[in-house]
Structures are given as structure tokens and as C-alpha cells.
Amino acid sequence: MSGVWFDHAATSLPRRPEAIDALNASAHKATPGRGLHGASRAGRDHVEAARTSLLRATGLKGVVCLLPGTTAALGQAILGLTPAPRAIALGPMAHNALRRPAHQACERIWTLPHDEHGHVDVAAAAAEWPADIDLVCIEHASNVTGLVQPVADIVTVAHRRGAKVVVDAAQTAGVLPAPEMGDADLVAFGAHKAFAALPGVGALVVRDPSLSLTPRAPGGTGFDARAETMPAALPDRLEAGTLPLALIDAWRAAAEAPHTDRLERGALVDVLLGAGVDVVGEGTLGVVSGRVSGSAPQEVEQMLDEVFGIGVRAGLHCAPAAHAVLGTLDEGGLVRFSMGWSTTAAELDELGSALGQLKRALGRAA
């Protein structure tokens, strides 16, 4: 395993110690909401406390529905919305977790107008808005370049035109304040990136609990067993099966853990530019992608990992739309470097040193 981690955009390592402690403490706890014994009731109390903690940590308002991850939450939001949308406005830098459900939900997809970096042009969007857009699916931030979209403004435009808005907040929940997402109708995010808890659990925050959502994965709920269908009310309507209490407790502990100051994006960009990396795109989060001339992205990833023990991610990052905007689709994508809660200045120095050695070695070999 890579000793130095610059792939926090994929998953944050190490996990927060508070999350691991809570995971271990809860591993032997009873399934919440199954039965009336004290153990089950205690589990249910933990889950409800976690919902409260997540709203507090993110600043979002609404009902927290716990699902297996951000991808499941986005799929539930987009494919569960009823009636199905006639047309969808899609963010230009959308991750496949947003893009694929959108394409599955309806044939008519309109990409929001944007500049060369993928930043949505809200004025152009308002002027060109097709009349049949019922749903906007927008990434709050690009997982390739760290670019942050003007989601609050997009929500304002969408709502004026009667469209709902789903936000992919995988890269931003717990990092950027909630007002940046405005009154978005559905916001999806997970436990294992910015929160540095564990994969396997995510949240869909539904602002208006009366929103009509068809459950994508109906099943047992632990109550009202005779009913043929899932309960009408959120969150139970979307939460079938056994909730992963240990993961939820771990997430809550991470959300309640003391805030840690993160290194600014500029520090990472400076290191990369200083090492001769060609940075591509613009952004504000600590997620930066680029090229190392003389070497394919996958080979840079392999060298950083096998020679230096540094973990980065090369390729399309499950976001071919973003690479199409950046013009990097046909060259094999880019190498992505992403910081997280635990990234230190010393690790940045180590990355810079490794990249510098790589560049010099490639230069000599050329």
C-alpha cells in the first residue's frame, strides 16, 4: 500500500481515528430498529443521533436518508423521482455516479453551458433553458479539477422554471458550507471522503419530505410488516434492510470530531508546478490534475506508487465528461493529486521531491 496518500478524492486514508474507535465499539451492537429489546432501541437511538450530527456537520436542512453510499443516494434521487423527468440538465463535469443515472432516467439530456474549465455559465443557462427540463443534476465540485460550481445560483434558476435539483456533494459535504448549495432539493454525499470515515454508507438529504420518491430497493423495514409497500414517510421509505450501525456510528464520530485545518489548494499547485507538472483546469478544492510530459498518466501513477510509495490516481476518474471538457479524453486522462484532512506539508514536500526526480529521470532518458 502507498505510504503517502494523495488520493483523498477517491477515499480518505487514513480514516479518522475517532471513526475507527466508534466502528470497533459498535461492531458488536445490535441491529437498529429490529425488535423491541433494549439493544435494538439503543441502535435506533444511535442512528437518529447520527442523522442529527450529519445535518449539523453539513449545515444542510431536510431529512437524512441513509443509503449504501453516494452512488446509491444519487441513483435513488435521480431514478426514484416521480414522475420521471422529461428532460435533465446535467452538470458539465459530472461524475458517472451522476451522469449514468441521468442518462438512464431519460433520453433527453441538456448539458449546462460552461466555460473551457467546465464552470457553469448561469446567465447563459437561464437564457437558453429548455422548457421541458424537470430535473437538474449538478456536481457541487469536480472530482478531477476541484472546480466548484455555482450551485446556489443554478438552484435559483432551476426553481424559477419549476425544475428540481439533485446535487452530487461527494467532494464538498463537510468541506464547503451548505449555503453554497442553496435550496437544493436532494443532496447526496458519503462517509469516506471529506469525513474520512468508512465506505459503505452515504446520505441523501431530502429538503422537502413530501417529495415523491419511489424506493429503488424496497424490502423489510422492521415495522408495519403486513404492508405490501414501503412506508410513505421518509426516511423509512428509502431505508430497507439492515442499516450498517457500525459504519453509521463511525461516520457520526468523524462528523463530530474536532475540525482539522486543511492545506490550501495553492500549496499543492505550487508543489506540482515547481516539479514541472502541467496543471490542467481550474478549481478551488485541494484536487488538482495534470500531466507529466514524457510519461503516460498510468505510468506516472505506477512510478509514484512502486518507486516512491505515493498514491495518486491516473485516468478518467470515472468522469469522462470532465475530461471531454478539458480536452484530455483522448490522451488517456490525467494524473490526479488530491489532499485531505490528514495531508501535511511534509507529505507535499515528499510529493514534490518524487515528481522532481521523476521529471529529471525522464529528461535524461529522452
Binding site: 505510468e299 512510478m303 512502486e306 518507486v307 488517456g332 486522462g333 526526480q357 529521470a361
Partner: protein, 110 residues
Amino acid sequence: MNAAPTADALPRVTLRKDCLGGEKIVDVDFGQPLGMAHLDEVSSAFADVQRTILADLPRPFFRLDVHGRFVLTGIIGDASARFTVRRHLDEDANDVALGAARTMLKGAGA
């Protein structure tokens, strides 16, 4: 103590996944440290091979581009290496990688 792998078990594929544009990544365990002799076998067995050795790195990195077939990358001294098999061969990616790996082992006196 586990028994050492038999000669028949090696080389073996340890990872196979899609890369970009349909190219397949096939990681192969050779069961022995790879050296220049193994790389020489690739240059002998295939036409049009471009070899790059980044010898100045803390762990020397090699890249052999067998044009039209695969790119072989790895660390001198490691027992495994990565084949990135070109798209038109992707259905036979494992066979391409293992075939080349056997050639490397045989010629280097495995």
C-alpha cells in the same frame, strides 16, 4: 511453511483490469526478480521494441514499448511487472501477457 510455487504455476496473472480506451492492464507475477536479461529477451523476441530505463530513480523503472502489442513496465529487481496490452489484442490480453512472460523467463534461464 508454504511450499514454493511450482514452475508450472509461474508466471501467473495477479491483476487484470480495463485501462483507458479498452486497453487491458495485466499484472504478472514472474516468481523471480526481473533483471536486464529478462528485458533483453523481449527485445530479442519482438520486433520494434523501444526500451527506456529510468536508472536514476531510487528503484530503477523500466518501460518496454513493443509497438502494436503491449507496453511492459515495472521495477528492476521486482518479481512482478505490468503489461498494458493494446486495444486490438484485448480479448487475448492474458495470453499476450503470459506468452511474453514465459518467453522472458525461458530465455533468461528460469
